[in-house]
Chain length 415, copies 2
């Protein structure tokens, strides 16, 4: 894998220089990148047309073609995204703490870049600009490895970004694209420990699984969301209805959409006839337990696999539970650690749910759809971590940093 090693070396060398760049220098380069993306719209669209034509010839689905397609508007949005990253505060250099030890050593903990970040993603060319922008702003070099279907678009976007970046002060090697889109290059990137400090997959469950299984580079799992809404016996049912409909149907293809609805048995007979017709009238397919299927014979019986599945479509699993304890046990067993909500008017139920649910974001009386970097006030995000180490939940610029201890002495030796 000559390409990987070459680009790994370049990125590593660039990362040392990037770490010391001032915010002004990084922002200046990023603004130039945004400008260059707008100015080279035609060049990028031409490359994208090749990908689209190839995709259509290969019989790609309309949904995938739509993800792959760039337009003048979409390129403008990419550039706007970069401009927005410029406006975010620079996390690097912050002294998080500094103490003076009894022996006089002054020990500071300072925020530094991670170094070199690998991003593995699918056929969404907008991720290319977005991820590179976030990495550069946080002082990291980046190695991008996008899906093969978008390779022409990615090459064009990266060329435009590199030309603008290197003409405006970013060290050569800051932004890299792996052009070999074989599966082998993807796996090799996951094992590039000599040059990569972290690898972040952005994509569906099978990509995440491939990274977890193959990566020897430290990885951050992102984005799978088997999210639940639990309607407690004390819930305001009008609120519950609005939240369930929003969480399930407002954008069903994303990771913070609701996949499962749990209803306390005390209110099931009242709430099911309210919520099921509302869902089915919006085209939602119902998969349910015995109670649900007996009340709504058009529903499909849920099997074990259903409870663990992230549908990412207009489909929902509904289960009746006897208690909040049963709801919590079910959620902790089947969830993917993303976003979980309780609808309740009961103080103790709300606290119990917040305390005992094991997930990145736990909600009382709100839609799970709010779990993202913009809604949480980070201004941008590189993904949503569903693991517990390093970062959990929406990852903004700070999640792309590490720390180091800087120690000021005047001759101290250990006794």
């Amino acid at each position: 894998m000559k390409e990987l090693i070459e680009k790994g070396k370049l990125a590593k060398e660039a990362s040392y220089k990037l770490a010391s760049l001032s915010s002004d220098d990084k922002n200046n380069a990023l603004s130039s990148i945004a400008k260059a993306l707008r100015e080279n719209t035609d060049y990028i669209l031409t490359a994208n047309k090749t990908d689209i034509d190839n995709g259509i010839a290969a019989g790609m689905s309309e949904g995938l073609i739509d993800r792959l397609r760039l337009t003048e508007d979409r390129i403008n949005s990419m550039a706007d995204g970069i401009d927005q990253i410029v406006s975010l505060p620079d996390p690097i250099g912050e002294v998080i703490s500094q103490t003076r030890r009894p022996n006089g050593l002054k020990i500071g903990k300072i925020r530094v870049p991670l170094g070199v970040i690998g991003i593995i993603y699918e056929a969404r060319p907008n991720v290319t600009a977005d991820a590179a922008g976030l990495c550069v702003k946080s002082g990291n070099a980046v190695i991008l490895r996008g899906g093969k279907e978008a390779i022409n678009s990615n090459k064009a976007i990266v060329k435009v970004m590199q030309d603008a970046a290197y003409a405006n002060g970013l060290p050569y090697g800051s932004i890299n694209l792996i052009e070999d889109t074989t599966r082998e290059s993807s796996v090799a990137l996951m094992k590039l420990n000599d040059y990569l400090d972290v690898i972040i997959p952005r994509g569906g469950a099978s990509l995440i699984r491939a990274v977890v299984e193959n990566a020897t580079v430290p990885a951050i799992e992102t984005g799978t969301g088997n999210c639940h809404v639990y309607v407690d016996s004390s819930a305001n049912l009008e609120m519950a209805k609005n939240i369930v409909i929003n969480a399930k149907t407002q954008r069903p293809s994303v990771c913070n959409a609701e996949e499962k609805l749990l209803i306390n048995r005390d209110i099931a007979e009242e709430f099911l006839p309210i919520i099921v017709p509302e869902l089915t009238s919006r085209g939602v397919e119902i998969v349910g337990d015995e109670t649900v299927c007996s009340m709504f014979p058009d529903s499909t019986a849920a099997n074990e696999e259903d409870w663990a599945t992230e549908y990412l479509s207009l489909k929902i699993g509904i289960k009746i539970v006897d208690s909040i304890d049963e709801a919590i046990t079910h959620i902790n067993k089947y969830n993917s650690g993303h976003s979980e909500a309780i609808i309740t008017s009961d103080y103790n139920a709300s606290q119990k749910f917040l305390d005992e649910i094991d997930a990145a974001a736990v909600y009382v009386n709100a839609s799970t759809r709010f779990t993202d970097g913009f809604e949480f006030g980070y201004g941008a995000e590189i993904g949503i971590s569903t693991q517990k180490i390093h970062a959990r939940g929406p990852m903004g610029l700070e999640a792309l940093t590490s720390t180091k201890f800087i120690v000021y002495g005047n001759g101290q030796i250990r006794k």
Copy 2:
């Protein structure tokens, strides 16, 4: 691997209960554990004698036998360590931040346990008590997998801890020991993703490498230290001498000991005749570059491998560099990301070194030997992270925690 799955399930279930235990409950159980370790000294020593006898019969080296050996004093130290953990503040439950978003959502970020922590270590039975104590205090369940040479000692220590813990309020399953000490059980533990949230190896380079190569569970690399001291042209040479001797010889077998000495060429002719006799008189073997070997013909010529090796013994590699830039480039190429020091009186050199060296701890005018949890003021440590994600440098209780977002709404839905 039936044992792993059984204990994994137990630990996972215990972890949900542990997460909500109050500090008082955890401290009470830990104090009982410390007391039980002291009261069962004879029981533990008898088990340890079996390990020692087996070790001697197997021809184990004296150094390894010494690591393996427990005494009344050492068991007392283990108990003191647990008592000290009791006195540390509980990190769990801290609200790190809370904001109110424009839509009225109150989003808090709260510190929570990681969940279930796997610890893989070698034949040091003291790690058993130490690691379990830190995990319990931070609300985590723990699965311990120690070296086969210490299995009888570990079984005895864990039995004493479990009996005291479960009789004093810790949930059953909080502390687990894998009794299968085959290599297969170790590798299977590294892949126990269904039950483990993180795995932490504590031991030498080959153990760390095995974890990096095999683990699919998120891992934290710890403890390898190819540490450098760079003596700048502006250094106070008396201070440089004292620091180099301390960093190299005060305890050469540990990860924060100095392994390499870089000397600026401007002062090499003056400093080498000071430092080399001081080192050799203390039994330190010198491996050097051409200049060193020509001035001290008893030295061995360093090869490429030497620069990358952590000797962990009375051996040091010495290299003359033309500039601070050459020193920084050399260190960033060969170091293991642990601890690096510059000895200098020059302001710009100190800042440049602090800025550009890529390591967990960077020192000006002090010995690298200070990189540990106690010296940094954490009161205890589970290890020293040499990776950049999650935690870097000495890891105290906080490194054994994650966060979750708790979101208070009153009916918010996403527009």
